[in-house]
């Protein structure tokens, strides 16, 4: 009887440590989403846009307007090769694979800190043919896309459009407005 009382604190301590470790695992907020990022792969050419493939759609109206306003990247025709929208994880890297079945062009991204207003500073890495081509510490803003003119292909250029679609810290402000 006396021995059982002596073992009781050890059992309680073990239970407490297990509970605390479980709660620590549950509290990993690093995987929380702080926003959404959309990455589009666009084919831009001054020649025949069908060289990229038949039955390809044009970019959206908003994207076309933004593309036509660009100073450096200028092409007569644009075709959408693919797009991917992924959550921005609070403290982990995430990947965008705009062409679902092809991994020729990839983009990895990770926030550098907390969102400030409608801005988010991020580490963006552009990968081509399994090689890291560029690393950028771009500050993204909703409504202000980032366009990267990439490699040549079939008489045109591959363009990567990166758009910040949402930030989680916008929600309270939006809720207040509503």
């Amino acid at each position: 009887m006396k021995q059982s009382f002596q073992i009781l604190p050890i059992i309680l301590l073990t239970l407490l440590s297990n509970v605390s470790s479980l709660s620590a695992q549950a509290k990993d907020t690093g995987t929380d989403s702080v926003g959404e990022l959309k990455v589009s792969l666009i084919f831009g050419t001054n020649g025949d846009a069908d060289q990229a493939g038949k039955d390809l759609k044009q970019p959206s109206k908003e994207q076309l307007e933004a593309l036509n306003k660009l100073k450096t990247i200028k092409f007569a025709h644009y075709k959408m090769l693919g797009e991917d929208q992924q959550p921005i994880l609070r403290s982990y890297e995430n990947w965008a694979n705009p062409m679902k079945s092809s991994k020729e062009i990839l983009l990895s991204f990770q926030p550098r800190g907390k969102p400030v207003g409608d801005h988010l500073k991020m580490d963006l890495e552009f990968w081509q043919s399994h090689k890291k081509i560029m690393k950028s510490g771009a500050t993204l803003k909703k409504g202000k896309p980032l366009f990267i003119q990439g490699p040549a292909w079939r008489g045109g250029k591959i363009i990567i459009a990166v758009e910040l679609m949402s930030l989680t810290n916008e929600k309270p402000a939006e809720a207040e407005k509503k």
């Binding site: 090769l81 062409m99 990895s108 990968w127 043919s129 081509i133 950028s136 202000k144 990267i148 990439g150």
Partner: protein
């Protein structure tokens, strides 16, 4: 005994007499001490006077304050020794440091000039890299240049020098050039690093 002659008296005073002759002269001197002092006072040699003076001092009597004089002598000797052992090396060590400073000063100036020249050469040779750095862009592969332009509506990055994607590769149809995907490699790493209890 009659009065000894001058030569004998001088020999006696110099301690050169021996035997019977010495005894006779000493006997006469004791009997005629007053005469002897008055007559030969000024004729005694300095050597004899010194000997006599030394002989008059007792060996058992020490000079006054001997420890004081001895300590002063020891102090003077030690001071002289210190001057020889300490002052001379310190002067040599200071000259060494002076020499070292003289040697290091031009070297430091040369290093500063080289550093400044290096930074100038690097910035002038890779102005595109500098521009990329200002926009927080890093291009690890040589031959690839990133040009950034910013407007109110969008940010543009133009990468020149990239290897073209083969026209044979139908990326629209899902084709990928041979090799391991970095995305999958990263996923494998993550799986291996996460440990769940």
């Amino acid at each position: 005994m009659n009065r000894p002659d001058e030569k004998t008296l001088c020999s006696w005073l110099d301690g050169e007499l021996e035997g019977e002759e010495l005894r006779q002269v000493e006997t006469w001197a004791e009997a005629n001490a007053a005469e002897l002092d008055a007559e030969f006072k000024c004729e005694i040699g300095w050597d004899a006077l010194n000997d006599g003076a030394l002989a008059s001092l007792s060996d058992s009597i020490e000079p006054p304050y001997p420890e004081f004089f001895n300590s002063k002598i020891q102090q003077a000797i030690s001071d002289e020794t210190e001057l020889e052992n300490v002052v001379v090396p310190s002067s040599s060590s200071s000259s060494f440091w002076q020499k070292l400073r003289l040697m290091l000063a031009p070297a430091a100036v040369a290093a500063l000039v080289a550093f400044y020249a290096g930074t100038q050469m690097q910035s002038s040779s890779s102005s595109s890299d500098m521009a990329a750095d200002q926009n927080s862009i890093y291009v690890p592969h040589s031959g690839i240049v990133a040009a950034v332009s910013e407007s109110s509506g969008a940010t543009e990055i133009v990468l020149d020098g990239l290897t073209p994607i083969s026209d044979e590769l139908d990326i629209a149809a899902g084709e990928t050039s041979p090799g391991d995907s970095p995305m999958m490699a990263n996923a494998d790493d993550e799986e291996s690093t996460y440990i769940f209890f």
